[in-house]
Symmetry: C2
Subunit: 114 residues, 2 copies
């Protein structure tokens, strides 16, 4: 509670107390926000939708999405670190694919929002 922020007296303190107890931990909210943040980028969404249709190596994604190899690679690292994509190595190439289809079902749900 921060009386330095909000001087207002006519709040329903009982309800605030009640809901305050129902709230989850900051850690939880941080994790949720972080995953949405990862999905909140034009190019990462395009990468995921491409990978939904087919497995691709880095240079193929680079061509398909008209992005530099470096940019693709940086974005894939983020997606890897958040367990959204997986990869397999084949000779010199690294093929990426979706870790699970749940992300795609969420993307589809969001695309219905507009």
């Amino acid at each position: 509670m921060s009386s330095q922020y909000c001087e207002i007296k006519s709040v329903r303190e009982d309800i605030i107390q009640e809901i305050s107890k129902k709230m989850s931990s900051n850690k939880t909210y941080n994790e949720i926000a972080n995953l949405f943040k990862v999905l909140g980028d034009f190019n990462r969404i395009r990468i995921l939708c491409a990978l939904y249709h087919h497995e691709f190596c880095v240079c193929e994604l680079s061509l398909l999405l008209d992005m530099s190899q470096s940019a693709i690679s940086h974005q894939l690292r983020l997606l890897r670190n958040n367990d959204i994509v997986k990869y397999r190595k084949e000779n010199k190439k690294v093929f990426y694919s979706l870790e699970s289809s749940e992300i795609i079902s969420m993307i589809k749900k969001v695309s219905e929002h507009g």
Copy 2:
């Protein structure tokens, strides 16, 4: 296609062509990414989870989440502009609530991802 970016020759051009046709428009991907971006913030997630439990006015959210009135108001505007929350005016106060429960079901789904 950008040969200035990726000099690699050993790509499967046929597959790239095929998937390229299946991709949606940039506008669509932008809208999807934008909605995820709105959800990708610690404080906005907290606001939404609070509103899931109860309707609140700005100053109550300010107290509950320990944020300044201004910060809450700025964030609520973003959520309004993206049709995620709605509001009703009652005298001097403005009470906010969720536009629909779909956002919450997505938040729940995401929280299971970790």
